[in-house]
Amino acid sequence: MQLIYNENVELIYDPDSFELLQTWKGFVPSGLFREVIDTSLDFIRSNKVDLLISDTSRQKVISGNDAEYAASVLDAMFTAGLFAMAFVLPQDVFTRFSLKKFADAGIDADRVGYFNKIEDARKWGGFVKSAKG
């Protein structure tokens, strides 16, 4: 199920695997970035989502404030029933710095993972779910 689609981001839900996938592309304006984060949170609150994958491999830099904003809603996502969040690491040098800021926020570090490939992220998500479940 496609929840958001535009030139910068696609938000898809797979009801079979209970996976919510954010796929970012290029430079995402702050307003749109936060809208996708908010929509993801709302969706997790009202649907069963085990794994949230944020594919940032083709994403360009985001502001430090936006990185902090994303980190600030993660707790609420876990409280709402999310098992784990996985990032597909960005190619872009500066996006990596943004993501590091997010990672350093240290929110439930066992349930957040960073991977080079989406397949690895999915595999890890399944493992976390079985371990916690």
């Binding site: 830099v61 430090g64 040098v93 500066f94 996006t95 710095f97 570090a109 957040v112 993972g113 960073y114």
Partner: protein, 366 residues
């Protein structure tokens, strides 16, 4: 805390600098901010991050104050400030490039003066006379030496006053006659030296330490060296940073600049002093980085040139390079190697493969 591989800050800086001069759109500004944010975290413990922050500070000077950034690097850097006088003393007495280069030049001058009753020393950019006072102290007790005529050219009058005071207070075995000349060297009329030089005898030694790179225009650098040559000195010593900050291409200049200060910072890290002074020293060099990176071509004052280009100017003016250095140190520590350079005929202060500072000695054949 989760970890994953991060690029080096140099890699990121290279990308930032590629946007110079007018490609800093909103996205590129956010990249600068992301890098700054990364560098500010852990600034105290990483020399590389400290250096990168100084470069970001410099490039933001170019991007302009209209930009609203989340971070003001000045707030983070301000806490590292140390008083000018403390830094100055540290540079002269503890910083190996300055301390040991001046020591080497001074002992070479001493060996040229030895055996003469009188000598004339002209110091371009004499400042507060610290190096020259050390030289006079080294000469103290030299057998047969009766008088030193010291000519100090310096654009800052206050510094000259300090130098004058220091020389007059020095208790030496010979007489010192000091002629302070308050002038930028490129504006100085060398014919004004005639009345002084006509009253003196003995060899004339000319010295400049970290001064000639402040002469903004190449034509004036040539002119100054030619004027010195016309005085027929026994020796002309030059101490200059060995890097090309005269380079007009911004990106190449940035690479030269980063490389140069990266190696200086490596040395600062090895100095047995507290972090407060070391960070203050790094901040001091940050002002030079500000000038090289953030300054416009016409108002930059730190226009360093590599040693071989100073040699070219000396040769064009009719000097020859000579290897008459005395007291070449064997090991000054801090990862610095002091070696003779057969290409320039001078002495290099090297850190790994990078020559940070060069000392040249030129003489007249006729």
């Amino acid at each position: 805390m989760q970890t994953f591989p991060l690029p080096s800050v140099y890699e990121a800086l290279l990308l930032v600098m590629q946007n110079y001069p007018d490609n800093f759109n909103e996205e590129k500004k956010l990249e600068v901010e992301a890098l700054l944010d990364h560098c500010i975290r852990g600034l105290e413990s990483s020399s590389e991050k400290f250096l990168a922050t100084l470069f970001i500070k410099a490039i933001r000077k170019h991007i302009g104050s209209s930009t609203s950034f989340e971070h003001d690097e000045n707030i983070y850097l301000r806490k590292f400030e140390v008083s000018q006088i403390e830094l100055f003393n540290f540079l002269i007495n503890e910083f190996p490039f300055v301390r040991d280069a001046q020591k080497l030049v001074n002992s070479s001058i001493v060996s040229l003066i030895r055996g003469h009753e009188e000598a004339v020393i002209m110091d371009i950019g004499i400042g507060q006379g610290v190096q020259m006072l050390n030289l006079l102290k080294m000469l103290d007790g030299t057998e047969g030496l009766r008088k030193i005529t010291m000519i100090g050219i310096e654009p800052f009058g206050d510094a000259l006053k300090v130098a004058k005071e220091k020389f007059s207070e020095a208790d030496l075995s010979f007489k010192v006659e000091f002629y302070p000349i308050c002038e930028f060297i490129e504006a100085f009329d060398f014919s004004g030296l005639k009345p002084i030089l006509s009253k003196t005898s003995g060899p004339l030694i000319v010295n400049e330490s970290l001064a000639l790179h402040h002469v903004p225009r190449l034509i004036d650098r040539h002119k100054v060296i030619q004027c010195v040559r016309a005085l027929k000195p026994k020796a002309f010593f030059l101490t200059e940073p060995n890097t090309d900050h005269f380079e007009p291409d911004f990106y190449k200049r940035f690479q030269n600049c980063y490389n140069h200060y990266f190696h200086i910072f490596q040395v600062i890290d090895t100095i047995p002093s507290d972090y407060r002074v070391k960070d203050g020293l790094k901040l001091f060099f940050g002002r030079e980085i500000d000038d090289v990176i953030g300054g416009g071509d016409h108002d930059r004052s730190e226009k360093h040139e590599p040693a071989f280009r100073w040699v070219e100017k000396l040769l064009v003016a009719g000097f020859v390079m000579v290897d008459r250095f005395t007291g070449l140190p064997e090991d000054i520590g801090h990862g610095i190697e002091v070696v003779f350079n057969p290409i320039t005929g001078g002495v290099d202060f090297k850190v790994k493969k990078e020559t940070v500072l060069s000392i040249l000695q030129a003489a007249c054949v006729n």
